[in-house]
Amino acid sequence: MGDSPVGALAERPIEPRGADAAERLVHFLGEVLYLYDTERFVPARAGTAGVLGEPFDPTRHTGVREVKAVTHHGAEVRKEADELVATVVFDV
């Protein structure tokens, strides 16, 4: 959505799935993509049990780039100092 602000107004549950953190992340993001593609639910950020966001509103949201798939290519979650850093390749 570029710079257009997205409110964390509702939560959609996402069941965690995957053998490790990278797989779980790819799965999570794939579910987020599916929610956008089918319900036009725009993600704002991760919630405690799923994804927080709101329905697409053409008066406030501008779709900048279409994500076609969340790939497993080079997917990685690693610790750097106090932070977790993730790498995911999206097919656009």
């Binding site: 697409f56 798939a69 497993h72």
Partner: protein, 461 residues
């Protein structure tokens, strides 16, 4: 490795490939069981998910495998070319309204869908089963179009029941839309001809105005691929297939896992054929609006090819005269059957199969014909396009201080795009020079140049 890798390139393209993971990916493919002949890559080779883009790999039907990574996420991403009866000098004065009409009639960009094509679940299943034939039955185009589509626009192994509900949900609202990224609808003209006779036969007279459509199976195909990956990973473990890269996950041909993917993949491919058939219909409507019904009625389909697909085909391996049925994967590669091949419709049988090679939006595209050389060396395959040379990030950086649409307009190319970001990322310099790719193909005898097309208008998502 079970076999060699074979990359078609010139010295410059090989130098560009130094250190590129695409070369390692060719080597990885060579590890897969039942591979017949070398792991092949075309001169537009680029790294991909598992298999390289621009890759061709054929597998024995008993010992070999099918791999979703060898087909690609965008199942039957492909290209279609229309030839209008119009000449460029007649179109230029009305180019802006033509581009506006195309932009209005063919939805593009993020979240695009058509309000005039509403598919219930039974209709969607028919699209998945019948592909372009479904579209023609519903008066999108004519029956004559089907002869000029690879596999007549409908793959018989499609099984809609193998396509998940999630994939159908993603795809049901997207039929007849272009998508975004590197997909486009492009108006151009025949700028140069290398084989006058063949060009005339294909309706590509000097200065003839053409319409290129590049699109695939949209969200449905992506979901089919995604759905298959976990299954294929488990299948590889189950059947003891060692994978140098998880993304080469696969199952033995004939296994239940392979059959399920095969049915779904062919169904998604049919969706893409129907998608391009619809878009061609709407392109003809745009022609009608600006240039009249007669011009629209005489706009013919030159050809429609897949460049992300796997097919069962018969090939003579090693020149021994013994026909073998192989599963040929082409990811970012185009079928290029030679003159005389029985699968070609009568109008192409003596010519060979048209091969459509889109370039970037600033330079040129090409039309080739398939050759005996391709049939002998690359399982009847050729390149598919230019291949990226700059990342999207780098392209955006370069575009920051420039106005790409304006630069193109100064060159006489009108852009109609849903977002500026896509145009910047798709700038001509982000791509290799497709002329070099096509020259390698021509020199290697795996495709024969017929015509060069130059762009004058592009619709992008």
């Amino acid at each position: 490795m079970r076999t060699e890798g074979l990359i078609f390139a010139d010295d410059g393209l090989m130098r560009d490939l130094e250190g590129d993971q695409a070369v390692q990916q060719v080597a990885n493919v060579a590890h897969l069981p039942g591979i017949v002949g070398p792991a092949i890559a075309m001169p537009d080779i680029h790294w991909g998910y598992g298999f390289p883009i621009g890759g061709v790999a054929a597998f024995d039907e008993q010992e070999g495998v099918v791999s979703p990574g060898g087909v690609g996420y965008d199942i039957n991403c492909g290209v279609r070319l229309l030839a209008t009866p119009l000449a460029i000098q007649d179109v230029r004065p009305r180019l802006a309204p033509l581009m506006d009409a195309l932009y209005a009639t063919i939805p593009s960009g993020v979240g695009s869908s058509r309000s005039d094509v509403r598919l219930g679940r039974p209709d969607l299943d028919r699209v998945l089963r019948d592909g372009a034939r479904w579209a023609v039955t519903h008066e999108y185009g004519t029956a004559g179009d089907l002869d000029a589509i690879e596999a007549n626009g409908a793959l018989p192994d499609a099984d809609p029941s193998c396509v998940s509900e999630r994939a159908k949900e993603r795809g049901k609202g997207q039929l007849g839309t272009v998508g975004s990224g590197n997909h486009f609808v492009e108006v151009g003209y025949v700028a140069e001809r290398f084989d006058d006779g063949a060009a005339d036969r294909l309706g590509l007279g000097p200065g003839t105005v053409t319409i290129f459509i590049h699109s695939g199976s949209r969200g449905l195909g992506y979901q089919v691929c995604d759905d298959s990956l976990d299954t294929m990973l488990q299948a590889a473990a189950k059947y003891g297939i060692a994978l140098p890269d998880k993304q080469l996950c696969c199952a033995p041909l004939g296994s239940p896992e392979a059959k399920r993917y095969w049915g779904a993949m062919n169904a998604a491919a049919n969706y893409a054929f129907a998608n391009r058939q619809l878009m061609a219909h709407y392109a003809r409507r745009a022609i009608a609006k600006i240039f009249g019904e007669d011009a629209a009625g005489r706009t013919r389909l030159v050809y429609d090819v897949c460049h992300n697909i796997a097919k069962y085909e018969t090939h003579d391996v090693g020149g021994g005269g013994r026909a073998r049925r192989l599963c040929v994967h082409r990811k970012g590669a185009t079928r290029a059957f030679p003159p005389g091949h029985p699968e070609l419709a009568p109008q192409f049988r003596d010519l060979g199969q048209p091969v459509l090679i889109p370039g970037d939006m600033g330079r040129y595209s090409y039309v080739l014909l398939g050759t005996e050389g391709a049939f002998k060396e690359t399982f009847g395959s050729s390149c598919h396009g230019a291949g990226r040379r700059l990342s999207r990030h780098k392209a955006k950086q370069l575009a920051r201080t420039r106005n790409i649409p304006q630069e193109l307009e100064h060159q006489g190319i009108l852009i109609r795009a849903a977002t500026r970001a896509t145009v910047d990322e798709e700038m001509p310099e982000a791509y290799k020079d497709v002329a070099r790719v096509v020259d390698v193909v021509h020199a290697a005898g795996i495709g024969k140049k017929v015509a060069q097309l130059k762009p004058v208008g592009v619709v992008k998502g």
